[in-house]
Symmetry: C2
Subunit: 452 residues, 2 copies
């Protein structure tokens, strides 16, 4: 690009999305001989792996968020733009915002995924998912409000429905949510109410496949299920949800229709690619996979457009192993850093071998003192796995001012089993609840089980 003075202006990199992929790509280009524009709809980076702790009242939104401008302010070649990309023009090399266009020499798309209800979008309101801070606050409101509503309810059957929580999806998020709600009901809140006994709470985790944590080794899945049972969670596998109303969850288990009266259902089942995948497909002809992720080349670019890259959860990278890389933070981080290296190399006229992911293992927490960790060479469970989980999460909160605060908050919660962040907030939250409470109460016809 040549500017008005006739001198060469720096290579322009536009990065869309400030999640793990976008942020790490941006940071790795700090002080490089390029100008970077990071565009995000939000003004903060979100540490999504801990979102369930906001949803269950352990951490505050700011504990797991960090202002993008704050993280990047020391790099003078990086500009942050709080805005939304609605289209792109790969021929004239521009991204299109609502009221302006931004030219790029290299473009990195890292807009991630959102919930996927498998064609049942009406479940959005009856079974909220967990991707944003607002999602987490809405879950928090519903969880704590359910106990308040139960305390006021005099009909035993309706009270029981308020004390029943169904979590759909047995992946890490579902397992972590179920474990955290169990600790709430059976520990934190156990002396807080006068009319209800929170130890009667039913927490049902439904998974469609034959075991929870399906991407993990089977022995860890079994261990996780045992730990959840010990915490008081009922796990049902091979259970496909067929309907979710305000008060009843219907599912098919081994061909049998079952129903459970539950006022709180949480969605942790499916994700689909963000809308930028579709935009890219329309503008460049790139192929998308079944859930709309962009099928990328070995260097994370898209066919025919060596200067457009897709990274993180939005990318379908199938050049390593027999499955595409999973949608987890370490993959996004490594992809972001790879792209930064690639762009710098290219500017020097050099090349870089294709991207390869170094698997650092996977881990999921089940509850206080209990987690499962698969490091490939070793599998851990129980307290040692929990400590590993804490260590890894603190380590990766490295961007965060509040790493120390989060550690202390965890330490405090650990010893007191308290949850300071269990506020019910939102304009008119009481009124809303009263409407919720009055909502169409429906009685289940086939009875599902929840051992208490």
């Amino acid at each position: 690009m040549v500017d008005r003075s006739g001198t060469q202006s720096p290579h322009q990199v536009v990065i869309v999305g400030g999640g793990f992929g976008g942020l790490y790509a941006t940071k790795a280009l700090g002080r490089a001989p390029v100008e970077v524009t990071l565009i995000d709809k939000r003004n903060f980076h979100l540490f999504q792996p801990l979102l369930y702790q906001v949803a269950t009242g352990t951490l505050s939104p700011a504990d797991i968020s960090s202002p993008l401008r704050g993280i990047l302010s020391r790099y003078k070649n990086i500009r942050v733009l709080m805005d939304e990309v609605i289209d792109l023009d790969p021929q004239s090399k521009k991204v299109i915002l609502r009221d302006k266009e931004i030219p790029y020499d290299s473009l990195v798309i890292a807009t991630g995924v959102s919930h996927h209800y498998f064609g049942n979008d009406q479940w959005k309101t009856t079974a909220p998912g967990l991707k944003t801070i607002e999602d987490a606050l809405e879950m928090r409101r519903r969880i704590f409000m359910a106990f308040e509503a139960a305390e006021k309810e005099t009909d035993p059957e309706k009270r029981r429905a308020w004390l029943t929580f169904v979590i759909v999806g047995g992946g890490p998020t579902g397992v972590e949510l179920a474990g955290a709600i169990a600790e709430l009901a059976f520990n934190t809140l156990k002396s807080d109410f006068r009319s209800i006994d929170t130890s009667e709470t039913c927490i049902l985790l439904l998974e469609g496949l034959d075991r929870i944590l399906p991407p993990y080794p089977p022995e860890l899945s079994a261990e996780a299920e045992t730990s959840l049972n010990r915490l008081g969670v009922t796990v049902q596998t091979q259970s496909m949800v067929t309907d979710i109303s305000d008060s009843v969850v219907t599912y098919k288990r081994n061909g049998q229709i079952e129903q459970l009266a539950a006022r709180t259902t949480l969605w942790a089942a499916g994700v689909k690619a963000s809308v930028m995948g579709k935009v890219l497909a329309e503008r460049t002809g790139v192929s998308l996979d079944r859930v709309g992720r962009v099928i990328v080349e070995p260097d994370l670019s898209i066919p025919g457009y060596p200067n457009i890259f897709v990274i993180g959860d939005l990318a379908h990278f199938a050049h390593q192993g027999d499955k595409p890389l999973p949608g987890v933070a370490p993959v996004a981080v490594q992809e972001g850093e790879y792209i930064a290296r690639l762009i710098k190399k290219r500017l020097k006229g050099e090349t870089l071998p294709p991207f390869t992911y170094k698997d650092a293992g996977s881990l999921a927490v089940i509850g206080q003192n209990s987690a499962v960790v698969d490091l490939g060479f070793v599998k851990l469970t129980g307290a040692i796995a929990w400590l590993a989980w804490v260590f890894v999460h603190i380590y990766y909160l490295i961007e965060f001012d509040n790493k120390l605060i989060v550690l202390l908050q965890w330490g405090w919660n650990y010893f007191t089993r308290n949850r300071g962040a269990r506020l019910i907030t939102g304009e008119g939250s009481l009124l809303q609840i009263e409407q919720d409470a009055r909502g169409n109460y429906q009685t289940p016809i086939a009875s599902g089980r929840c051992e208490v």
Copy 2:
């Protein structure tokens, strides 16, 4: 009260409102030979004196909130009800909720105050006030979004309006807000933007009377104004706001109409009694003062109803000094504790002398290292006053799990001048902002001054 078995059931105390007055009354009745029902619309006690730190991105809502059930769970004679009192029947001694009635032997009303726009309720949207967590999050959204909008704005005049903040009201809240915004603009955010220079931010504090902090000794008012000027805040006294639009604040100063283009105006001027004052007046004939507060007897009861008490900001107590007691936390706490003592004495057939307030002094923070403190026997300013302020606030966060966390957060912010909690949240916050940004931009006709 005699229950069905014919035995005497315990004295029933109903307390409405879980602020400082209601909470301290409730706690002081823990394990007393009474049954207490604390009714609040929210499930948490809010430490209102620190609300401005949420509004300016230093603390998170949960840092200054504590779940009422958590605080009170160890007292088995106390029941918490998340509900709203809409009426009362002093003849049959019942408070009336939306769907039930609760009988009382003693009733304590502590529902506080809300904003008062002096008959200009249309300013609610153009100049939000600061009483609830939701108010604070809305202020935080507007403050941080104003900088984002300025960064995108290309018209210098409109950009300037985004960088202009007007705070209406020079009491402690106004002074604290103005000081905190100055620190944001001139310290925290100074390297965060690329198109704007945040040191050009204008922060105007308007006060109707002839000095800020009017209830304080004049020398402290003068000191506070000097400190604010040093921080970069323009203070204008004898300035009465006459209109607040989306983009222009109009005010009268020494008989002269002045106008300033400002996209962010914050209300810290007036309060009025909550609606329970009016309900009490209708049902008992008690007199209200000019702002709707209930004029109470020397023992905080209301005339003719020795078992109905009003405490905290809702009470107008004029039996000590030449002015009614101010609406501050220490007054509410002492009133709450007095009522608990009085109820316990009465049950034993004893009496208690009228309520007297022990003034522990007043204090307001201006910014990092600067505050004013009036302890009666000594007046402090500057860094020593700031330390006193920190100490007192930490001490009174005694109910809070998170006292240590808040202290560390403050320590961290103090040394790094960072603000971790500057998230812009709320569903559709970006879209909302774009609408805000497009809003009716109006050019001021008479020009007010803001020295930068």
